[in-house]
């Protein structure tokens, strides 16, 4: 079949998103009451969608290895638990992580492109991307140039994403918009559209390095962008909210939202991820509560 020719939208036209309406709709997801088998199923799915993350200057090889072990062995005393989806590290740690997760099926994602600020030249960003892929990364989490975007240089942002996508080769590309720096829903929507049309496999909210991280309304706007892109092209794009999601209840509300906006085809870790480090333990605690009827102390769950 011949390749479908994709006509690009005019990115200079402002997106039209009504903040009050978005927040009202977002609030509806949090009103869903998730109980019993639906809850257990949702919690298992949430675990399986986590990108277990460590992105610190002080990361050690030992810490990365421990985290990778946890990624595969979340709680061995609980039978038939899934693994997380991926571990997410700096390029320097990719080789170690790759070895540590072995053939468990857990993917290794690497941040790249001068994460978290993106303040570097395109040349260095592409080199860093290729380096991470060569080290064995299955997925690349890039950041967009927010300065250029806010200045209205949409073509630059588009071309940069397209170039990084090319440098990724077989690795899947997640594009971090850093929504906390874009501020308005109109801009978040526009950045989502640019990223998808430029070749993103995933769009992601945040680096986790600034206080304003992911939220349900922000994710809703991005999910609606993904849906509209799918309507137009038939191409599925993944979504990854990151930062600030540490409670199971909130994670379940995110899943309700994905299910109501994009439907069940997106309800797996190929198309939806949580960028989170502390969420896993809260989910495990809730699963144990569902199983035993009582809450266990947090020291029963390992910190890695």
């Amino acid at each position: 079949m011949a390749e479908k020719i994709l006509t690009l939208p005019d990115f200079t036209i402002p997106a039209r998103i009504d903040k009050v309406g978005v927040e009202e709709r977002a609030d509806r997801f949090t009103k869903r009451s998730i109980k019993k088998e639906t809850k257990v199923k949702g919690l298992m799915l949430a675990l399986n969608m986590i990108d277990l993350t460590t992105l610190e200057g002080k990361d050690t090889e030992g810490k990365v290895r421990q985290m990778c072990y946890k990624a595969v062995h979340l709680l061995d005393s609980y039978p038939n638990l899934p693994t997380v989806a991926a571990v997410c590290v700096y390029p320097e740690m990719v080789r170690i992580a790759k070895k540590a997760v072995g053939d468990s099926g857990v993917k290794v994602a690497s941040v790249a492109t001068a994460f978290p600020s993106g303040q570097s030249s395109l040349k260095i960003k592409l080199e860093e991307t290729r380096y991470a892929v060569d080290e064995g990364a299955d997925e690349i989490d890039m950041v967009i140039s927010r300065g250029k975007f806010l200045r209205g240089e949409y073509n630059y942002v588009f071309d940069e994403i397209a170039a990084v996508k090319e440098a990724c080769g077989p690795a899947r590309l997640k594009v971090i918009l850093e929504t906390g720096e874009l501020i308005t829903f109109d801009k978040i929507r526009k950045a989502s559209d640019i990223a998808m049309y430029a070749g993103a496999d995933f769009i992601k909210t945040s680096t986790g390095k600034i206080p304003a991280a992911s939220s349900i309304p922000v994710t809703l706007v991005m999910l609606e962008a993904i849906r509209d892109y799918y309507y137009k092209t038939g191409i599925m794009i993944g979504m990854k909210p990151a930062g600030g999601i540490s409670k199971s209840k909130v994670a379940l509300h995110y899943l309700v939202m994905v299910n109501e906006i994009l439907g069940e085809d997106w309800m797996n870790n190929k198309w939806f991820r949580f960028g989170a480090s502390s969420l896993a333990n809260d989910v495990l605690m809730q699963l144990m509560k569902e199983k035993t009827g009582v809450y266990q102390g947090k020291d029963y769950f390992t910190i890695d």
Binding site: R16, I17, G21, R25, S33, N259
Partner: protein, 490 residues
């Protein structure tokens, strides 16, 4: 042969499947029988007759309520007349205290009221819990505040109460409508005879219990149950000074005729067929949400429901697709389940009425789309329904259906849509969706409707007046404007 649909489909089956999360029925106690609340006491009806109130979601009988005869109405009006003398002379701040007390007690018993509202009327517990009951309490709070400030509301005039107010309310928002009616009447020093609708009398009877417990002087509020003949007896009673009615335009016309030539004052809040207008520059995803809130809120049993959708032709296809996908995610089912979005149709009579119009729509040749959800096997349910390619002259676009049925028409220019939107005997509400402020102001001044929402729909607040144009009635309820119909201003 059916047209082949090549559009990509999103799958929402699992989005509608949640483990049951029912609100606890036992948290609400419904008595097997309710008498009439007259002169501060529950009294057996002189008619000696009772009728059943049932749960439309299951058909089960919930309770029996008294069927008031004209003699019962007379008794209630006499009690209200007796109470008026002292109530209207009470210091205004004291009146306010009583209303504040009712407001707080409604809040205290919010959960119970919400459950009974849902059981008796079929509306989703999410709505009765998050909308009906809190808004009812807010109305009491709001008008309690006005009680001792009438001289500021109407400066340089003396505000005098009218006397006995006969109030007749509908079945779509039973408790909320009772609050809309009772709160301003009491704040202005009137006394009340209120009749709830015959299919949904129970929360009004709980409100009677609250009023009794609040120690309101006997006779200030009387709540009597019954059907149309009871309502007629209130309207025709010579000692009633004011009629406040919310309900159908047909009954509104009967009331008009009945009080013609008398000195009774009236406010009528009647039917509607609101236009909801989406321009191409609107925030479309939020507009789709507004369409859903506009027509599927309370199963479409809303007089101001946005039942006629007008979409600018350049975005029609996009809006239709988004709307259909959104409708697929609505959960239709047990009203007591916390996840239910659309509950049960209020009565068999209303169910038949809606089904009749759906048949008319099909026969008229419009394209129908319904949610693919499965309906509960018993009880009265209708899936969210939309008709596109509807003509202005289609009956489904002209007549009030009062159910979860939306008609969709496209338009090209502003003038065209204003003309079409106003081309109805009704004029209760309208909605405008656009990113452009100037367009909003242009339309809001030209749409002949009492309430015009911009970039939202079905929003209510006690501080905001509500009421109609043309056959949607007259008089305003809510806000400062809602005080005047209960006062003689001299």
């Amino acid at each position: 042969m059916a047209k082949r649909d090549n559009t990509l489909k999103l799958k929402f089956d699992s989005a509608r499947k949640f483990a049951p999360a029912p609100e606890s029925r036992s948290a609400a106690k419904i008595k097997p029988k309710y008498d009439l609340f007259i002169n501060g006491k529950f009294e057996k009806p002189l008619s000696k007759k009772y009728f059943d109130s049932t749960n439309p979601a299951t058909g089960e009988k919930l309770s029996e309520v008294a069927d008031s005869s004209a003699a019962d109405v007379d008794k209630a009006v006499k009690a209200a007349r007796n109470a008026f003398n002292s109530w209207s002379k009470l210091p205004a701040a004291e009146r306010g205290k009583y209303i504040f007390r009712i407001a707080r007690m409604v809040q205290e018993r919010a959960r119970e009221l919400a459950i009974v509202e849902t059981l008796d009327g079929g509306k989703p517990i999410r709505e009765s819990r998050d909308f009906d009951v809190p808004t009812a309490a807010n109305h009491f709070f709001y008008y309690a505040g006005w009680a001792d400030k009438l001289e500021y509301a109407f400066p340089n005039r003396t505000a005098k109460p009218l006397g006995v107010a006969g109030q007749i309310i509908p079945w779509n928002f039973p408790l909320l409508m009772a609050a809309w009616k009772i709160a301003p009447a009491l704040a202005t020093g009137n006394t009340v005879v209120l009749k709830p609708a015959e299919t949904t009398p129970l929360t009004a009877m709980l409100l009677a219990e609250i009023i009794l417990e609040a120690d309101l002087p006997p006779g200030v509020v009387n709540i009597i149950t019954g059907a149309g003949s009871t309502g007629a007896a209130i309207v025709n009673h010579p000692d009633v000074n004011k009629i406040a009615f919310t309900g159908s335009t047909d009954v509104g016309k009967i009331i008009e005729k009945a009080i013609a030539g008398t000195d009774k004052k009236a406010t009528l809040e009647l039917g509607g067929k609101a236009a909801n207008i989406i321009f191409e520059d609107a925030p479309l995803d939020q507009a789709v949400e507004g369409i859903v809130n506009g027509i599927f809120f309370n199963q479409g049993h809303v007089c101001c429901a946005g039942s006629r959708l007008y979409v600018q032709e350049s975005v029609l296809e996009s809006v239709l697709r988004k709307l259909k996908d959104r409708i697929e995610t609505l959960i239709v089912g047990d009203p007591l389940d916390k996840n239910t979005d659309v509950g049960a149709i209020n009565s068999k009579q209303q169910y038949d009425q809606i089904m009749k119009y759906i048949k008319i729509g099909i026969n008229e040749g419009s394209d129908m789309f319904q949610s693919s959800c499965t309906l509960p096997s018993k009880g009265l349910y209708i899936p969210p329904t939309i008709f596109s390619n509807v003509a202005q002259s289609s009956r489904i676009a002209q007549e009030e259906i009062f159910g979860p049925v939306l008609t969709i028409q496209s338009f090209r220019t502003d003038d065209e849509v204003i003309e079409k939107a106003n081309n109805t005997p009704y004029g209760l509400s309208a909605g405008v969706w656009t990113d452009k402020g100037s367009k909003i102001f242009n339309l809001t001044t030209k749409l002949r409707a009492g309430v015009v929402w911009a970039n939202t729909f079905n929003k209510f607040d006690p501080t905001s007046p509500f009421g109609g144009y043309k056959e949607s009635g007259y008089g305003r309820e809510g806000g400062l404007h809602g005080l005047a119909p209960y006062l003689n201003l001299v």
